[in-house]
Subunit: 354 residues, 4 copies
Amino acid sequence: MSCSFGEKVKITIFGQSHSEAIGVVIDGIPSGITLDSEKIAKFMARRAPGQNAYSTKRKEADIPEIVSGVVDGITCGAPICAIIKNTNQHSKDYSKLKILPRPSHSDYPAFVKHNGFNDIRGGGNFSGRMTAPMCFAGAVAMQILEEKGIRIGAHIEKIAGISDTRFNPVSPNLKALEGKDFPLLNDSVKDEMLAKIEAARLDCDSVGGVIECAVTGLPVGLGEPMFGGVENVLSQAVFAIPAIKGIEFGNGFDCADLTGSENNDDFTITDVKISTKTNNHGGILGGLTSGMPLIFRVAVKPTPSIAKPQMTINLETNEPEELIIEGRHDPCIVPRAVPCVEAATAIAILNMVI
Amino acid sequence: MSCSFGEKVKITIFGQSHSEAIGVVIDGIPSGITLDSEKIAKFMARRAPGQNAYSTKRKEADIPEIVSGVVDGITCGAPICAIIKNTNQHSKDYSKLKILPRPSHSDYPAFVKHNGFNDIRGGGNFSGRMTAPMCFAGAVAMQILEEKGIRIGAHIEKIAGISDTRFNPVSPNLKALEGKDFPLLNDSVKDEMLAKIEAARLDCDSVGGVIECAVTGLPVGLGEPMFGGVENVLSQAVFAIPAIKGIEFGNGFDCADLTGSENNDDFTITDVKISTKTNNHGGILGGLTSGMPLIFRVAVKPTPSIAKPQMTINLETNEPEELIIEGRHDPCIVPRAVPCVEAATAIAILNMVI
Amino acid sequence: MSCSFGEKVKITIFGQSHSEAIGVVIDGIPSGITLDSEKIAKFMARRAPGQNAYSTKRKEADIPEIVSGVVDGITCGAPICAIIKNTNQHSKDYSKLKILPRPSHSDYPAFVKHNGFNDIRGGGNFSGRMTAPMCFAGAVAMQILEEKGIRIGAHIEKIAGISDTRFNPVSPNLKALEGKDFPLLNDSVKDEMLAKIEAARLDCDSVGGVIECAVTGLPVGLGEPMFGGVENVLSQAVFAIPAIKGIEFGNGFDCADLTGSENNDDFTITDVKISTKTNNHGGILGGLTSGMPLIFRVAVKPTPSIAKPQMTINLETNEPEELIIEGRHDPCIVPRAVPCVEAATAIAILNMVI
Amino acid sequence: MSCSFGEKVKITIFGQSHSEAIGVVIDGIPSGITLDSEKIAKFMARRAPGQNAYSTKRKEADIPEIVSGVVDGITCGAPICAIIKNTNQHSKDYSKLKILPRPSHSDYPAFVKHNGFNDIRGGGNFSGRMTAPMCFAGAVAMQILEEKGIRIGAHIEKIAGISDTRFNPVSPNLKALEGKDFPLLNDSVKDEMLAKIEAARLDCDSVGGVIECAVTGLPVGLGEPMFGGVENVLSQAVFAIPAIKGIEFGNGFDCADLTGSENNDDFTITDVKISTKTNNHGGILGGLTSGMPLIFRVAVKPTPSIAKPQMTINLETNEPEELIIEGRHDPCIVPRAVPCVEAATAIAILNMVI
């Protein structure tokens, strides 16, 4: 099933970009937890559109209304359903897209899959907007994880070829990212990144990037071998975020160029705590958490919605046709995707911890 | 559940490296299919150990015995169970590893997870040996896919820093790989790769690499949005292969450095078949197949079992201790991992097609 | 997971009796279906409360608001979410029940399970009210099934010891039940049943009964052996309706007293259609549909909410205490459970057919 | 999926009556458990065929060979696979059945479902023989449950109209059943039951019955509302046993004739233990365990394989034809089904407890 994730804590996401509402059902959250609604709101604001120059001008308050599962602010053990009204749709912007599929969007395969009945408005349920309920679920998950001493933080590792410092894989500095709406470890590259985004915007174009995420405080031995490994489960969650095209754990693709003696992480011990001197393995051995920080990076493609002319095929006439996409789009989705990566990670990890 | 994968065709893998047998149950294969046992045997031979200088000297016939689900060579609709006897275990080689976890292996987290009851012999059920039943299931899946015109092929894209040509993403040449036990698109780099492997072996070390896989003949619209996307499902399957640390689809991490206008794939039409001029998207749009070849690459870490001295912690004394791993190991796992990647892909794709 | 059902068409139900809203997410409904909202409304009205003397006086319009998955009245392939606002809660009626668990209700085990954080108001998510979204999903499922020639109908087989005629198992008369809000095959027993219900109501008591359900038009061979049999799947769905304590297929418990030669159903053929002369097997052989009408009966216990004094334990003092339940309750839940049984059946069957 | 059951402890059963082997994979059993192989063997012997006058003369040792998941007799956390060789097949007995479906067997729908490719020998994977691996899994589950103080016992409540005493639902006497191969609470009805079975056998016929099962020592609050209720999960497991046509919990269908005041179970308290004075609810309230003994009964139809002439349809000629079933069959399956019911119950309960 496409809209559900998780075995112990199962989230089920519904809605389309321009449907009346979007939302999420979360089943399996323990009873007796006082939800920190302020924290949830703050977390969701990091993803919300319309906040600055590099995001879409579609303004959505994105205030989740909890309609079940919570009594007097405390979880009661019943599934939690949170609903977010869609209020600022400009559906007419998309009218001609039904027969003119946008390059590198889901439009064409969705049209074929659903014989033209797919909801094309704003990308329907393929829209990045579906990450809003995911962020709600992620915020709830994160609160429970934090009470167990598990912290998740992600930063912009790269935008348009400009790189941030990477995490120290042995001791990632999550504190340095707190409160930042454009999270970088090395803030001195921020202006250069923003300039690249602005240049793309003025050029009716967009840029991509890389996000790096770290999880600290994990116990040893979470996950399972084979299909239940931490890599398997995290990938399944993270690829639900549109525009992500790759994921690598630890030193990832770089390990391909190393020898075993270079890549292996020797064990060490401090007091009674066993750890590894290096962390090329990114905190995962044999699919299980090793107790070292979990580190991974994801590639985010440049927003496919660009205002430059592009070639498509008119699905009625089967003739090539030039397409200029109008409407409001992010010239760079990377900053708003950062909390989404954290949210997907929180949901995946919660399923292993609980 | 860790040992099962798939919703429509579900495989369940059991066994440990040194248990009496390993095997797989495949539920959901349609009835009436005459299994091509020769093809299955040939496919499994590509993964089998002990065949050449660059693989472990453990010799296993790896002949699957089908004990259910097939009558007179034809599937009957009942779950297919295939069993492979373990015949050439040298269990004593591993005796001291119980308390001396090998760096970059599952030993340490598995010990903690299972309070020391984990089967340490040969890595237990974390072993690469568990890919043998996966290859059986993959060979069965591949036969069904081929009858639908879907072909899967993978090659060694890189070993120890030496690169093969990549697939032409618009028309990958799968024919060029047929019958090769060391599959390359550009065979002229073979000797250099083999030399690197041999050098690593002589140095008691190992090397890693990258595998690239392509799938052709896919219909438009397979997969689902969100958690059921082709990337999600393939990742979940492929990360079940030990030693894989990253996956990227289409141009993958390279897309991070491109603009939208560079990265987007314009549509074109030939006769009545809509396709894209380029294939940076790797055949997947919004989680759905686009009809273009599906292309992805995975990073394979260097075999962690190396004979060089390494530092570990004695789990009884909690003291550091030097470890020299004995036994028989692949100096490079990449060639034998190629059919495993194809098998995992076949199982994942079959679940979307059937 | 407790709130989800189905593999191909998955429904996820959320809400509590007195939460802000209740609802359902339906994933897997094909695109391109024009939902018949009038039919859905009519079906849901059969379950809605407050309509007559034998149901609770809680009045709820129970109008489902479809917030996703439907565009211009036509399914678009995205998950359908329907929400029903709770408007007529009298939460104060339930205030003291938190510590005075009602006999034969979920109160006590729910209190223990959730350390007192369970939503006690109206039974929380254990309430019969949760069958309203189930009926919405069932109505959608039924529409799809009817287009495939599959019809589902249930009747009151017994109330308070007064029996209706049973279905002719070889050709159940579903037409006879159409449009009835108190569905009986033999309407002459209606007054007697109503009198029993009224007597119970006046006596501050309640009565139980039996519902019989039939499905016609099923193809041969639906279902799977073992855990995927029609009996297994239907039971899992039907026991989600509160108050159901038993289910039997075909002649059910009566088969225990027969010999094989009496119980076996000989085959016959008419034109080219193979059928059985009798239908003791209730349309299911080896877990698969046989092509004969599917017949089953469920036992419905008398409403546990009665106004007579009962003994319970005060969970604060651990002392016995007399309890008189106030509020609005059905003296007989059987008539309103009839459409719920049909709905659960429709959802289960749709999962096998699609 | 039809051959798998369970979310936390998942069993996957494979094999056919006459395939080379049958078996089960059990995933999710904790590591560190010393399996009591003698107890397992004893339990499986209760189900094994060929032991007495009222069971089939097919003799099978039914000795499970554990090929994975256990090291030196102790579970290691990897999936446990147990295989049972089929040794005493008389496949020729079934040759003509391919085109002459046996009344009240799976033959006809299985033929249609699989276009004639189904394994007809001995009923293929629809055979009662598939309960042998289920009993292995059940015996493992029961050992873990017993260490938690949970005990399961079932008895023959009825055969051919002769009734045993029912359990006292408030304190079922499981001890009275220990060690009995024909388990009755009131042994004085044994001879009469055996006489009925022998009479059926001599008459080339068969008889059915009812099995009653009790579980004691359950904690309060197991299970979930809606689809995850104890009734839902137990039904899904128990209907995997061929020949079962009904299930009822507590007083079951009898509740239909009672008033609420008669049927409700008042609470009481002894020391600090809350319980109910009566147990009409069979230990389940709102889908959750109440702490009272879990009580249910299942209807077992008379063995459909009888040697009397029956009418069937020749699937080649589409003509009616008389059928006389040869081979070895149980005149009454009830005694051998008793441990199967216990096994299915153990697997279901373990999934809620673990």
